[in-house]
């Protein structure tokens, strides 16, 4: 069909590729020449990647111990003592384990909680970031989201909210016995940089000191009801107390799933920088944190890491599955293509 070739006039639309919808364009046509190699290549690449991931994940060593106190173990006593009492009494228990061979480093020590819903909305909104960032105004006037841990006995709670109130307060020390019969030597736990750098340096800040004293800065506030001591006494170290206490900062970064691990310490000092040598070990546990009321568990985890992070067999398996699917589908497509290509050729010949 020929359209009248129009003379150029003022009203005439511009003859540009854009206005006339003639922009150069890429029309991907799913030809066999593109699609089939694509599938096979992607499949092979994924299989390779998947294998790599799977093996490196498997190479990661983990050592877990459930110290909730349900099963046999020294923590059973503590668990039984704490039953039904709030706050639970201070109780000490220990976990003994033996490493037959070296546990390669760097070793990380985590605590793990199960069925603890840090991701519950009412729980996770119950905090005041402004207060935690050290704004004096917010210190005195915590946000309403913190309720009912907003005010206690008429005083503003610092740090306010349910997250802070439920701060994990079990503590661990690790002891190593080089030879049987030898005394246990304390393994130095590096607890300095367990929080994110940004959290520790930017997001969490103590309110400005009053007369050089943090305690005075917090004067007129109340600690969260569950806390036995105020926030400025979390640690004797002035760089690790108040809102910038590393344990506190770690705890405040809430977990996305109800079973979660949080970093407690790194083991990378002295003789232990290359890992935990073989021998007997003891973890002394200050058992304070009640989890049995809601059916949760507390675990201690020693783990090392690989190039792709912590232990995660899923990713490797997922890559393997997707890779093999690609190859299978590729073969199906190849079969279909060969079969119908012949027909098409015949048809084309007929038409001509």
């Amino acid at each position: 069909m020929t359209w009248s070739a129009a003379a150029r006039r003022a009203q005439q639309p511009d003859n540009t590729a854009f206005t006339q919808q003639r922009l150069p364009a890429w029309h991907p046509l799913l030809s066999a020449g593109i699609a089939l190699p694509l599938f096979f290549c992607a499949g092979l690449a994924f299989l390779g990647l998947g294998l790599g991931l799977y093996y490196s994940s498997n190479a990661i060593r983990e050592l877990e111990h459930d110290y909730t106190g349900d099963a046999a173990g020294s923590c059973t006593v503590c668990a039984a003592e704490g039953q039904g009492r709030a706050p639970p009494p201070r109780c000490l228990c220990a976990w003994h384990f033996t490493l037959a061979e070296r546990f390669p480093g760097p070793v990380y020590l985590y605590y793990e909680l199960t069925d603890f819903y840090q991701n519950n909305r009412r729980y996770s909104v119950s905090r005041d970031n402004a207060q935690l960032s050290g704004l004096p105004d917010s210190l005195r006037h915590p946000t309403n989201e913190c309720a009912p841990y907003q005010f206690a006995r008429g005083l503003p709670v610092a740090p306010c909210g349910a997250i802070a109130n439920s701060l994990f307060n079990d503590t661990f020390t690790l002891w190593h016995q080089r030879q049987p019969g030898a005394p246990y030597v304390e393994v130095p736990l590096d607890r300095a940089a367990i929080a994110w750098w940004t959290d520790y340096h930017v997001k969490f800040r103590n309110p400005p000191l009053v007369n050089g004293s943090l305690a005075l800065a917090f004067q007129g506030t109340a600690p969260p009801p569950n806390w036995p001591r105020p926030v400025y006494e979390l640690s004797p170290d002035p760089n690790n107390t108040g809102f910038v206490n590393q344990d506190f900062v770690v705890w405040m970064r809430t977990a996305a799933l109800p079973t979660f691990r949080k970093l407690y310490a790194r083991i990378r000092q002295g003789n232990y920088s290359a890992g935990l040598p073989s021998g007997a070990y003891r973890v002394d546990i200050a058992y304070n944190y009640p989890v049995r009321t809601f059916g949760g568990h507390k675990l201690l985890v020693f783990s090392n890491v690989s190039w792709m992070g912590g232990k995660n067999p899923f990713l490797g398996i997922a890559y393997l599955v997707v890779g093999s699917l690609c190859i299978v589908v590729g073969f199906v497509m190849l079969a279909v293509y060969i079969r119908y290509q012949d027909q098409d050729d015949d048809n084309d010949n007929d038409e001509e």
Partner: protein, 1110 residues
């Protein structure tokens, strides 16, 4: 219509001329028209009110309120308010611009100037300031500003001519005449200013052909009818000035009353969207209920034990209540499944498509410098779903130009362009038209392509001479000389104009006429014929004749008319010629030309005198006058000698045939709705191949009563379905149940092509009674439907009928004000632009200059829009569901506590910033029906740009600085840094991308092999033969010569003969002699009445014709 709301309906209108104070008592509407919706003050409240009537907007308002309740608020308020404000602002801006343009066009019309008589002086006044009762002056070729009572005009006897094409589509001029008492006022301003008549008339209504009123002036009463009224929208023609008194103004005028209500048009996608949104609400509620139940259970089983860490508010102890609150919280969180930005995105896409229509050079008509224009930007995808096209005829299918194309004189055809009909067009260009420039009086525009005709004239073939002499003598054309001495013809039907012009170019120039004489120039010599009698045209006679005495004293009767009629009255000696001419006529008719047969008769003096005497007595008869006269006409118009036939082409617009053919190929049905006569309409049907000789049958419905119409419809249906059904359908009672059955099976069982031609009168009956369904059923079974002589309102009714009962998407296309109602009724209205009147364009959704652009509009723009919109919707829903349902999954891990996975800013920005542009780009630029198969640079820019935007916003929000400013709103500091450095993240992104793309690619690949779509095949084929040119479309078949008996069609109106013989329309060159003054005066009322009577008769007599098989 506006009037009735404000105050009780007007029963009767009383208007006093030149007395604004008096008329103000009644609060009649003034002449201002409003099509705009808002003013500056009312814009905000009205627009907001309208916008919140939309389900989605209201829903988001509701969400906003929910979010203000702290127990429920799972997202902060800005997640909803940002998109909502954005959406509402954008829509408001668009509405405001639309309305601004309406204001502009209103202003343009309202500010047209007209001369109004104020305080005894003619003053220029804007149209909008014209008030009821004002006297205004109109000049030639001006639009009439309001409905006027004609007072006086430049023509004798207060006559004036108007063109009503804007109103009813009829192209012949109509005569209006003032009351004799008022026509005496003339142009005397002081007398006009003193005119203080009072008009009492009907209330405003939409009946174009009816007016009842009484003028009281100087203690006497004069009845008024439609003949004294000039309606708004008409154009004054052939009358240098006239004065009129405004009766109806602005919204009360019949034009505006006829234009119907402006309905807000929605597309079927819109309606689908609304239902979809409702379904989504249901889905949302289901999700909410599931999650609320989950929450109740969780609170009961787990949450209760978790109490040490997770406080319970005192009032929240009940887990059921907690579930209830959770329901609302999840309604808020999952709100993104209800796509608020979808509406805006759709508007943007449509706007983009509209611009593509505006920009399309293939729809630009250089002849009138008129580009196509999408006036409504919200209907584009509907263009791809059109099933029925309703087209006006005059000005839309045809150019309203009649050209003398061929003739058959004494058995020989002239004007046959060449023997090789296949390549007619090219030859046309090559071959030189006959050169008429040698003749000083030749009309420039006339073209004729056969030299042999000129040779015959030069050789002095007496038949040829007689033929053209007849054309120059037998007509109702008035001639005039303009200042340069050029002849100008005033024609009342374009057909006649074409014939007289043809004669003029062949050397038989019609010069002038008086009531008693006709002067023509025959090959250079002036000859004056004495006009003895004028046997006027009417629809029963289908012919007109003049009886003249030539200078030699011979009396001749010249007659032209429908071949079917004329051939019956030929002298036996013409038998051989009759056969030959009849063949020629068939040929002409087959080409869709309008034909007239030409014949003459020599009369002897005595016979004529006798006859004339009888005619005079018959004219004076008190009763049965018309019958007697027509009897006498029959008597003298016999034993005619055939001269030949003429063939006039009602020129089609360019490319009409091809367009209709390709639209039919796309199974779009085209109905022609025209105000014109049946013959004319049928002729055009043949000319543009909508009616063909191959058709099994053409049903003509022309019944005059309900019974007749029903009978005709039944008969037509009977022949469609064969004998059995027609017997069964004998009674109305048993018809009803049968109908449904027929409708369902009908369209498959009918074989062969049928066409339906229905008359306006029959249509009125068919539309108003129970036979509506019969009509619809029959019409839908027919390949072609032509409705002729329909009023503007009937056009709309027909469209409405199809729209409602067939549930089909309709498009109406037209150029005049008479098409406005149908344009407004149809799903999509298209106006032909570049014409004088603007009403159709103003009422339309799309406008362009040529009918042929309809093809591109529907088959390219419409189709693309539809596909793009569908794909866009799929993508949009996909991305929103994928985005939102994550929260459903996460609910099972977070204790159904309405915790969000994403941060709130991501939720806020996801739809409107991060993901809108790529989808939008696809919606605007994609060109083929598959997935995004058309990656232009813009798609790339949008996709990569969106990703870049996402990351830049992400980094900003997670930066130290913004945390320092708003620690509670942006607590994300460090997240990006920590997560993006994790290799796992990137591995997961890679995995997800591949895992989600691979199945689609595989599916497409397999589908292409197993079930290739046409697009696939074409693309593969294109790829295979890039060098080969695409197949050329075959030219439409050369039309076969036909067996049609008659192509007669004549746009002529009865009554002009009488005008001519009475001399009423002759311009008085000298003051009429005193003695003659009395006679015309006493006579004038009678002929005028006659004229009026006849025009009304025309309609009824016309429809009395029986179902003639064409």
């Amino acid at each position: 219509m506006f009037l009735c709301k404000k105050k009780p309906c007007e029963v009767e209108r009383i208007v006093k001329a030149n007395d604004r104070e008096y008329n103000e008592k009644f609060q009649y509407a003034d002449n201002r028209i409003h099509t705009s919706k808002y003013s500056i003050i009312t814009f905000l409240p009205i627009n907001l009110f309208e916008q919140f009537q939309r389900v989605a907007n209201a829903y988001f308002l509701f969400l906003l309120i929910l979010q203000l309740i702290p127990e429920i608020s799972s997202l902060t308020w800005f997640t909803t308010i940002v998109p909502l404000v954005l959406v509402i602002t954008m829509t408001a801006v668009k509405d405001a611009t639309d309305d601004y343009f309406r204001h502009k066009s209103d202003n343009q019309v309202n500010n047209r100037q007209s001369e109004v008589l104020i305080d005894g002086k003619l003053q220029n006044e804007k149209w909008m300031n014209v008030k009821v009762g004002d006297i205004i002056k109109l000049e030639n070729n001006q639009f009439v500003a309001a409905d006027l009572l004609l007072l006086s005009s430049s023509e004798p006897h207060g006559l004036c001519y108007i063109e009503t094409a804007e109103l009813d589509g009829e192209t012949n001029l109509k005569v209006r005449h003032a009351l004799s008492v008022t026509s005496e006022l003339g142009a005397d301003i002081s007398r006009l200013a003193r005119f203080d008549g009072t008009v009492v008339c009907e209330a405003p209504n939409n009946k174009l052909d009816k007016f009842v009123g009484v003028l009281s002036w100087k203690d006497s009463k004069h009845s008024l009818n439609n003949q004294k009224i000039i309606l708004r929208g008409c154009i004054l023609r052939n009358t240098s000035w006239c004065f009129g008194m405004v009766i109806f103004a602005g919204p009360d005028t019949k034009l505006i009353q006829n234009s119907g209500k402006t309905k807000f048009k929605r597309t079927s996608i819109d309606r689908l969207m609304n239902t979809l949104v409702l379904w989504i609400f249901g889905f949302l509620a289901c999700l909410g209920i599931i999650l609320a139940i989950g929450n109740s259970i969780w609170e009961n089983q787990v949450g209760g034990q978790f109490r040490t860490f997770l406080f319970w508010n005192e009032e929240e102890k009940d887990s059921i209540f907690s579930g209830f609150l959770t329901f609302w919280s999840y309604i808020i969180i999952l709100n993104t499944v209800v796509p608020i930005s979808l509406y805006v995105s759709m508007e943007v896409i449509r706007l983009g498509h509209s611009y593509f229509i505006n920009w399309d050079r293939k729809m630009y008509y250089s002849g009138k410098a008129a580009p196509a224009e999408a006036r409504t930007t919200t209907l584009n995808e509907e263009l791809g779903q059109i099933e029925y096209v309703f087209s006006d005829k005059t000005g839309t299918l045809t150019q309203n130009i009649m050209t003398f194309k061929k003739c058959s004189i004494n058995g020989r055809i002239y004007g046959e362009v060449c023997d090789d009909t296949v390549q007619k067009k090219e030859i046309t260009k090559e071959k030189e038209p006959v050169d008429f420039s040698g003749k000083p009086q030749a009309a420039r525009s006339f073209q004729f392509f056969d030299q042999s005709l000129m040779e015959s004239i030069k050789l002095g073939d007496p038949n040829v001479h007689e033929f053209f002499r007849l054309l120059a003598l037998c007509h109702t054309v008035m001639s005039e000389e303009d200042s340069t001495g050029k002849l100008i013809y005033q024609v009342q039907s374009p057909d006649e104009g074409a014939l007289v012009t043809a004669a003029r170019n062949c050397g038989f120039i019609f010069k002038s006429r008086t009531p008693e004489t006709i002067t023509i120039e025959e090959l250079g010599t002036l000859v004056t014929y004495q006009l003895l009698a004028f046997l006027d045209f009417n629809n029963i006679r289908k012919r007109m004749s003049v009886i003249v005495r030539n200078p030699a004293g011979q009396i001749k009767l010249y007659s032209k008319g429908a071949d079917t009629i004329l051939f019956e009255r030929l002298h036996p000696s013409s038998e051989d010629l009759l056969c030959l001419t009849s063949d020629h006529l068939g040929e002409f008719a087959g080409e869709g030309l309008r034909t007239l047969a030409i014949a003459y008769r020599d009369l002897d003096d005595k016979y004529f005198k006798e006859w004339h005497k009888m005619l005079e007595t018959a004219s004076a008869a008190m009763h049965g006058r018309d019958d007697q006269i027509s009897g006498l006409y029959e008597e003298i118009e016999r034993d005619l000698t055939l001269l030949g036939a003429t063939a006039i082409e009602d020129k089609l617009q360019e490319g009409v045939i091809e367009t209709i053919a390709s639209l039919s190929l796309a199974s779009i049905k085209i109905w022609v709705l025209t105000g014109d006569k049946q013959e004319t309409a049928v002729n055009i049907g043949y000319a543009c191949n909508m009616l063909t000789e191959d058709m099994n049958d053409v049903f003509v419905i022309a019944g005059n009563t309900v019974g007749e119409v029903r009978e005709e419809l039944r008969k037509a249906k009977g022949s469609l379905f064969g004998q059995n059904n027609s017997v069964l359908n004998g009674h109305v009672a048993c018809e009803k149940p049968q109908q449904l059955e027929l409708v369902s099976v009908g369209e498959d069982t009918v074989t062969g092509d049928y066409a339906l031609v229905i008359n306006g009168h029959s249509l009125a009956h068919a539309l108003e009674s129970d036979i509506k369904n019969d009509l619809l059923e029959l019409a839908c079974l027919c390949k072609t439907v032509i409705c002729c002589r329909v009023t503007p309102l009937q056009k709309a009714q027909v469209v409405e009928l199809v729209r409602k009962h067939k549930n089909a998407v309709t498009l109406a296309i037209g150029d005049g004000a008479n098409d406005v109602s149908m344009i407004k009724t149809a799903h999509i209205g298209v106006g032909i632009s570049g014409q004088e009147g603007l009403q159709a364009v103003l009422a339309s959704d799309y406008s362009f200059a040529q009918f042929k652009y309809l093809q591109r509009l529907l088959l390219v723009h419409g189709r693309w829009s539809y596909f793009r919109m569908c794909k866009f919707l799929c993508y949009f829903f996909y991305k929103n569901f994928a985005f939102t349902l994550v929260h459903f999954w996460f609910a099972f891990f977070c204790g159904f506590s309405a915790q969000t996975v994403y941060d709130q800013w991501f939720i806020t920005l996801f739809n409107i910033v991060y993901t809108s542009l790529p989808v939008l780009a696809m919606g605007i630029f994609d060109q083929i029906a598959l997935d995004t198969s058309y990656w232009t640079i813009i798609n790339h820019v949008f996709i990569w740009g969106s990703i870049a935007t996402y990351f830049s916003i992400l980094f900003t929000m997670h930066s130290n600085g913004i945390f320092g400013m708003f620690p509670n709103q942006f607590p994300f500091i460090g997240n990006v840094r920590h997560s993006l450095t994790q290799k796992c993240i990137w591995l997961v992104i890679l995995l997800t991308t591949v895992a989600s793309v691979m199945p689609v690619v595989a599916f497409r690949f397999l589908k292409m092999d197993l079930h290739p779509t046409p697009t696939d095949q074409i693309r593969r084929w294109q790829k295979a033969q890039k060098k080969a040119r695409p197949v050329r479309r075959r030219r439409p078949q050369a039309r076969r010569s036909s067996s049609r008996r008659s192509g007669y069609a004549f746009a002529h109106q009865e009554g002009y003969g009488e005008l001519i013989t009475s001399g009423k329309n002759m311009r008085a060159k000298n003051p009429p002699p005193a003695s003659g003054l009395e006679k015309p005066l006493c006579n004038s009322t009678s002929w005028l009445e006659n004229l009026c009577k006849k025009t009304t008769d025309t309609l009824s007599s016309f429809s009395q014709e029986k179902t003639v098989k064409l």
